[in-house]
């Protein structure tokens, strides 16, 4: 990529009175990237987006678009277009007038606008529906009109605030791929907000995971999924099994944690985490359900547990196990045709491959 316009947040704080909605955000978004902010409701995603689009100015720090400081530049003079959480289509204007509103305020003639509207309507597969009112469209159609309206302004940066949250599952999945395709076609920077981690992982080049105003981690979808840097990220993005214990030793990018009732387990540790942790500290170790498999493994990558239950999920089985005292363990196994992994109540050994467990400092978990 790299052809589009970059967006940078430098030490951005946003406060509402005493309440800190965004705390010291540092984000650099490459031009032409599809960048997502992922976080639970109320964590400050919309607030960051509003700071980028210019509806509120940071209490501290700078917002740069294309390397230019945006302080004092209003939303109507920024090269951004925002797709609102509720779409905010103009209810009294026809679809084509909605789409070309950005041209109308610049004084374009009706014929010019009509022509551009027809092009965009074709692009969003709504050809011939330009004379309807927004209230006469379906949810997915409104969605596409909102996208066309934003694109018509030829923004350098398109900001999308959970635009798919109001849609049902099927339509949402369809719109995901469509959005990604549009982004690749127009090649501009997309900043996408969602609290749906699946959405963030499938569409984004890079993801920032937020929790209560703080950006915990920025990275590619794989980074965030495979090597979460905090307990929150590990528990928010995807399913995870968490074990708590004391660090025995840290050795480069791997750490050994002594988990009560299970024994020592070895996991990867990020440089940031290893800087915060020392031998003897409490830590958390996360292992993905799909990383676990039945059978003995190497020392430090094996645990014993009792089978509690088993669920069939079509493409996979989920096996619930009890490792004594600790929270339940989930193991996900691909459906390869075999039945009944183990008898209920029987004890079995589990192992996981090297590098599939992650050690992070003790922290708050996502409560979902």
């Amino acid at each position: 990529m790299g052809s589009g316009v970059a967006v940078n947040l430098e030490n951005v704080w946003i406060k509402f009175g005493d309440f800190v909605a965004v705390r010291d955000a540092n984000v650099s978004i490459n031009g032409g990237d599809f960048f997502s902010f992922l976080g639970p409701s109320g964590c400050g995603k919309t607030t960051i987006l509003r700071a980028v689009s210019g509806f509120l100015s940071p209490s501290q720090g700078r917002v740069l678009i294309g390397g230019k400081d945006m302080a004092g530049i209003g939303p109507n003079r920024r090269p951004t277009a925002l797709i609102f959480q509720n779409l905010a289509l103009f209810p009294l204007m026809k679809v084509w007038e909605n789409i070309t509103f950005s041209m109308e305020v610049k004084g374009a003639s009706a014929a010019e606008r009509r022509k551009r509207a027809d092009e965009l309507l074709d692009m969003i597969a709504l050809g011939g529906q330009g004379d309807k009112l927004p209230s006469e469209l379906s949810g997915g159609q409104k969605q596409r009109v909102a996208i066309a309206r934003a694109l018509c302004a030829s923004p350098d940066v398109l900001l999308l605030d959970e635009p798919l949250s109001a849609l049902d599952l099927k339509l949402r999945q369809h719109m995901r791929t469509e959005l990604r395709a549009i982004q690749q076609r127009v090649g501009i920077t997309f900043i996408y907000i969602t609290h749906d981690q699946g959405e963030a992982l499938t569409m984004s080049d890079n993801v920032a995971v937020m929790k209560a105003g703080v950006i915990d981690q920025i990275g590619t979808g794989r980074d965030v999924y495979d090597l979460p840097s905090t307990a929150f990220v590990a528990s928010f993005v995807g399913e995870n099994n968490m074990f708590r214990g004391k660090i025995l030793r840290i050795d480069g990018d791997s750490a050994q944690v002594d988990v009560a009732g299970i024994g020592p387990l070895v996991g990867r540790i990020s440089p940031a985490a290893s800087a915060q942790l020392d031998a003897g500290d409490e830590a958390m170790i996360f292992i993905r359900p799909e990383a676990l498999a039945p059978g003995e493994g190497e020392a430090g990558r094996t645990l014993n547990a009792t089978v509690v239950n088993e669920e069939f999920e079509g493409n996979a089985f989920t096996v619930y196990l009890d490792a004594g005292g600790n929270a339940e363990i989930r193991m996900s196994l691909a459906n390869t045709g075999q039945h009944r992994i183990a008898e209920r109540g029987s004890r079995m050994a589990l192992h996981f491959p090297a590098g599939k467990a992650v050690v992070v400092p003790v922290g708050e978990l996502a409560s979902e």
Binding site: N76, F101, V105
Partner: protein
């Protein structure tokens, strides 16, 4: 079943009474506009006439009053709608934090009596004029004491609050995200206001304008203080009521009612029309373009046209219609009735004079007192002592008995209506000789009973 019918009946009765209460006065008022007596009355019905409309039309006071009322109304609409719109936007969009304080402040003028607003407007702008150094007789001074200027300001100070209430109700349903979306798409604040908020507010602006105009048009309390040397319809009407009214006021009321009904029908017709057109559009048809499409499924439009035609036809008829003949007939009937009564009275007097010829006192006064005695207490005919007591007061001018007689004619149940006498005076001379000469019918029993019946 029976009790259900009964409660239904009661409900229907209630509705009837309710609507009679609402519409009755208007109906009676409208009727009086077409009746010929010069005091507004619906009964007795005399002659159907349009003359009060012509009187109204040629009444320069009312015309001027309406003219200034309309000017003031327009000024008030412009001022109070813009003030109300600004206030409502501040209230809902800009400073939501000071909402309650601001709200109280803005709503206060509605709660203050109009009289107080009128006086304080007068005083305030006088002070402002002085502060600005407007001396006696200067142009600026004239401006601050101009009745139109003061009335528009005075009325707007509270009508703006009404307008604001209308706007706030509408604005509460406005999504501020729409303005943000417009800004985000490159619109300036002015463009966002003009292209997004204003179209959204259009229905509210229309209804606030109508409301403001009507409130201004009918305002009296404030206007009577601020109008100074101008006049509005309400002040003219108030003056008229003080000096005595004629049915041209009913004609005005009827015209206003008709206009209101026409306007309401027109609004409803166009509303129905656009609803129909929307429905047609959703069905995919191109209907509604033809004029006939306007009336399809649009009862108010049909009524509107019918009523307008009725008004036009009536106006045309009124040009030709001449109730003179009817009036002459009514006049004649009235005269005849008066004559009849006079005659009856005279005859009753004669009857008494000949019935008591033995009284020693001079004839005429005695006859007078007899007449009065008869009038007051006909059953007490020979009561001489009582009669002679009243005599001295009544006797000195020789016409006085005539007075008494006429009083009897005009207000048969009530002699004290002596003030009616001057009206009837022109009729009395012919009666007088009759009084002096003819004793002829004195003993006619029918005449005598006629008078006592009239009593």
């Amino acid at each position: 079943m029976k009790s259900l019918n009964l409660s239904r009946l009661a409900f229907a009765l209630y509705l009837l009474i309710f609507f009679t209460y609402l519409m009755g006065p208007l109906l009676v008022m409208s009727l009086t506009a077409f009746n010929s007596p010069s005091f507004p009355s619906a009964s007795p019905w005399e002659c159907f006439t349009f003359e009060w409309f012509s009187v109204l039309w040629h009444d320069n006071h009312i015309r001027e009053g309406i003219y200034y009322s309309v000017i003031i109304g327009i000024g008030t609409v412009v001022l109070s709608v813009s003030m109300g719109l600004a206030a409502s936007i501040v209230l809902t969009q800009i400073w939501p934090r000071f909402r309650s304080a601001f709200y109280t402040m803005i709503i206060a003028p509605i709660l203050i009596p109009g009289v107080v607003i009128g006086i304080s407007t007068l005083v305030f702008w006088d002070r402002v004029g002085r502060l600005l150094g407007a001396g006696e007789g200067s142009a600026l001074n004239g401006f601050f004491h101009n009745g139109l200027f003061l009335t528009i300001l005075g009325q707007s100070s509270f009508i703006a609050s009404y307008a604001m209430l209308v706007f706030v109700a509408r604005l509460q349903r406005f999504d501020p995200g729409l303005t943000e979306a417009a800004l985000d798409l490159g619109a300036t604040h002015t463009q966002a206001f003009r292209k997004i908020l204003l179209p959204f507010m259009r229905p509210a602006i229309a209804s606030a304008s109508v409301l403001a105009f009507l409130a201004s048009f009918e305002n009296y309390n404030t206007t009577t203080f601020t109008i100074v040397d101008y006049k509005t319809l309400t002040t003219v009407l108030a003056q008229k009521v003080r000096l005595g009214i004629d049915p041209s006021i009913s004609a005005l009321a009827f015209s206003i009612i008709t206009l209101t009904v026409l306007a309401a029908l027109a609004v409803e017709a166009f509303r129905r029309h656009s609803a129909n057109r929307l429905a047609a559009r959703l069905r995919g048809g191109a209907a509604g373009r033809l004029l006939s499409g306007f009336f399809r499924g649009n009862v108010p439009a049909v009524l509107l046209v019918l009523l307008s035609m009725a008004v036009i036809v009536t106006a045309g008829v009124a040009q030709r219609y001449d109730p003179t003949q009817c009036k002459v007939a009514v006049q004649a009937a009235k005269k005849a009735e008066i004559q009849r009564r006079i005659k009856a009275l005279q005859e009753s007097r004669k009857a008494r004079e000949s019935a008591a010829p033995a009284t020693p006192a001079p004839k005429a006064p005695n006859a007078n007192s007899g007449a009065f005695g008869n009038v007051f207490a006909p059953n007490n005919l020979p009561g001489a002592p009582g009669a002679s007591q009243t005599a001295p007061a009544q006797e000195s001018p020789s016409q006085k008995p005539g007075n008494g007689a006429f009083g009897n004619v005009f207000a048969p149940g009530n002699l004290s209506g002596a003030s009616d006498a001057p009206d009837a005076a022109p009729d009395s001379p012919p009666a007088r000789p009759d009084n002096g000469s003819g004793f002829g019918n004195v003993f006619d029993p029918n005449n005598l009973s006629g008078v006592s019946g009239g009593n």
